[in-house]
């Protein structure tokens, strides 16, 4: 067991090293334009919305699933919040009361969406990729029905000021993201339930025979994913001061990519929150660099795609290596 843990940390150190090396290379190549206080703050504003989605995707990966509906959940929950904020739903509230009611509505809806995914996957044993593909269309359909495809604008400043607020020069939304990541990390590594999630992901059958209630874990994990997606949706609408179906569709692929780069094993059971946070920072640096370098959209797509394939390849090779090493050890002993 301790052997396994140390191997995982090994992968994590490589990722942290890679991030630092890239940061150093960028410092030499781009200098001021990458590391001015203004750019760092700008990146800190951009990271939380897809960072939270990536954390959600990580939880799905850890238990051997996937969630393709996270962006749809984020969007539709944002739309519901916007409907309350603009007084279309629950009219008559004012000031911070309306903000509280709106956030409660949006997050409740997000958790409900997540739990419905969990119900399909854990209770009805639907394949995660098919189930969430279906709910993705379903949830964004709800958003479409609520808005008719039009944007909801004119959110009260009591709400939107959250998206631009800063704490000692650091965006509050970034602080929120770091806090959520830290809490998840502590939960996964320090609690028995977190430990069980890894075991479930590593081998669901063995977990079931070890009296772990996999159904209940799966159900609630998807609920938490919904909550994370809902938080991301709220950050989005507070940043752009409007809610609309289809905003952030590009984050779906990015969230997947971040998880794979962050060393979360798509087959489940392996990976650390810190890896995902590192990968989020890495992605943001690359994306800013692409703008500075004026890359064409084709070049960007090519790079994102090949990164995904290369990381999966490396994952495969390192897994093969490990199996060999373990076999060798067994033969020696």
């Amino acid at each position: 067991m301790s052997n396994l843990a140390s191997r995982r940390d090994h992968d994590l150190y490589i990722l942290i090293g890679l991030t630092l090396v890239l940061a150093a290379v960028f410092a030499v190549v781009f200098g001021e334009s990458m590391y001015s206080a203004r750019n760092l703050r700008s990146m800190a504003y951009q990271m939380p919305e897809f960072g939270l989605l990536a954390l959600g995707m990580m939880l799905a990966f850890l238990i051997g699933g996937i969630d393709l509906s996270i962006v749809a959940v984020a969007n539709t929950s944002g739309i519901m919040t916007a409907l309350v904020l603009t007084g279309v739903w629950l009219p008559g509230l004012s000031g911070y009361g309306v903000v509280a009611a709106a956030v409660a509505t949006g997050l409740t809806a997000a958790v409900a969406f997540g739990l419905f995914n969990g119900f399909l996957i854990a209770k009805l044993s639907a394949s995660p990729i098919i189930a969430t593909l279906g709910t993705m269309t379903f949830y964004s359909g709800i958003g479409m029905a609520l808005t008719g495809g039009k944007g909801i604008t004119g959110l009260p400043s009591a709400f939107t000021s959250f998206g631009t607020a800063e704490m000692l020069g650091v965006p509050v939304i970034f602080v929120c993201f770091v806090a959520v990541a830290a809490a998840l990390s502590a939960f996964l590594s320090r609690t028995a339930l977190g430990r069980r999630m890894y075991l479930y992901g590593e081998n669901p059958l063995a977990a079931r025979f070890s009296a772990i209630d996999v159904e209940r874990i799966g159900f609630w994990v998807y609920g938490v994913i919904g909550l994370l997606a809902g938080m991301s949706g709220h950050i989005v609408i507070s940043r752009v001061n409007s809610a609309k179906v289809g905003y952030g569709d590009a984050y779906q692929l990015q969230a997947l990519l971040v998880c794979v780069i962050g060393g979360i094993h798509p087959q489940g059971g392996r990976g650390k929150t810190l890896g995902v946070v590192c990968a989020v920072i890495l992605m943001q640096m690359l994306s800013s660099a692409f703008t500075i370098l004026r890359f064409s959209p084709y070049a960007k797509k090519l790079i994102w795609g090949s990164m995904l394939i290369v990381m999966l390849g490396l994952e495969y090779l390192s897994a093969k290596q490990n199996v060999r090493r373990e076999l060798r050890q067994k033969i020696v002993h």
Partner: protein, 331 residues
């Protein structure tokens, strides 16, 4: 020669800066202005727009270039804007996918002293430095209406399509076209008070046209304010009703064959390259302090004498396609 000229300008600029530091800002060379255009996505329309901005760079020496997001997701446009703000460019031009969503970022950019100029976003004109439009919508619609009347020789019934009743620009064109027909060709009658919807789909345009031909056998002309009039032309062709004149908003890549074989008698649009050129040049003028007011020359075809009204600079740049010129355009 060009190099020599730009060198001369640079030398003069340096001398001017040294001699009168107070007026330093006004004498910056065009190449020192970084003007960036963010388009919606990569497609023939915006590829043509890119050509216009490359021409601006070579003709005027402005350091202008285009950034293209991977898809039509507004989030990607906003991310690019954020990066540009922290790089401290002089001007950001944008054709927004979702005008409302970019407003907070526009404010951020302007707070940082960056000029923001939009194209195709008259709804948010009051929040940006300037919005550049190819024409006043009523004039564009009237041009379409006159084409309908002329093609039908001023007699008979006609029908009009829009993409959707909620699409503001389509509705403005439609109303202006109907008004123009009423005024200049009083013998023509519109078969319906409201336009038909083609839902921005060639198939829907086709199906509805087939229905119209059955219900109104005396139709003489059909016009479509969405770029999907090729569906109308195809239906007219398939039903052997070559006597019906089709007029439509047209994109060469979609409508060229119909314009060439005559099943679409008149196609009109505006040139993305010129619109991009004018938008970025306006941004340069604003950033350099020259400003853009009525009568300003934005140097692109159709934008030589713009009319500024309510923070919107209107050109008059409708582009009419004929069988002879359609092959010259690639968007």
């Amino acid at each position: 020669m060009k190099k020599f000229c730009s060198l001369l300008v640079l030398v003069l600029a340096v001398v001017a800066v040294v001699l009168c530091p107070a007026a330093g800002a006004a004498t910056k060379a065009p190449a020192e202005y970084r003007v960036v255009m963010i388009v919606k996505q990569s497609d023939p329309w915006f590829d043509d727009m890119t050509l216009g901005i490359e021409r601006l760079k070579s003709e005027m020496g402005v350091n202008a270039y285009v950034l293209t997001p991977e898809s039509g997701d507004p989030a990607l446009q906003i991310a690019i804007m954020e990066d540009l703000i922290s790089q401290g460019v002089d001007a950001i031009c944008i054709v927004p996918n979702d005008p409302q969503a970019i407003l907070p970022t526009v404010k951020k950019a302007r707070d940082a002293g960056i000029v923001v100029v939009t194209h195709e976003a008259p709804g948010i004109a009051s929040e940006v430095n300037l919005d550049v439009e190819a024409f006043v919508n009523a004039e564009f619609g009237a041009l379409m209406g006159e084409a309908v009347g002329k093609a039908a020789e001023g007699k008979g019934e006609y029908a009009g399509f829009v993409g959707g009743l909620t699409m503001d620009t389509h509705m403005e064109w439609y109303k202006a076209a109907v008004a123009a027909i009423k005024q200049k060709y009083p013998d023509m009658t519109n078969i319906s008070d409201e336009p038909f919807e083609d839902k921005n789909s060639i198939e829907v345009a086709y199906d509805k046209t087939v229905e119209l031909l059955k219900a109104y056998p005396n139709l003489k002309a059909i016009f479509d304010c969405s770029a999907h009039g090729s569906g109308v032309a195809q239906a007219v062709k398939d039903k052997g009703r070559g006597d019906i004149k089709v007029v439509s908003l047209a994109i060469p890549s979609m409508s060229a064959s119909y314009i060439k074989d005559g099943s679409m008698v008149h196609g009109q649009a505006w040139r993305p390259a010129d619109a991009g050129y004018a938008t970025c040049y306006a941004a340069y003028l604003l950033a350099s302090g020259a400003g853009v007011s009525t009568g300003a020359n934005l140097k692109a075809t159709g934008y030589e004498d713009v009319k500024v009204e309510g923070n919107i600079a209107y050109g008059y740049a409708p582009l009419v396609f004929t069988a002879d010129n359609i092959d010259e355009f690639h968007f």
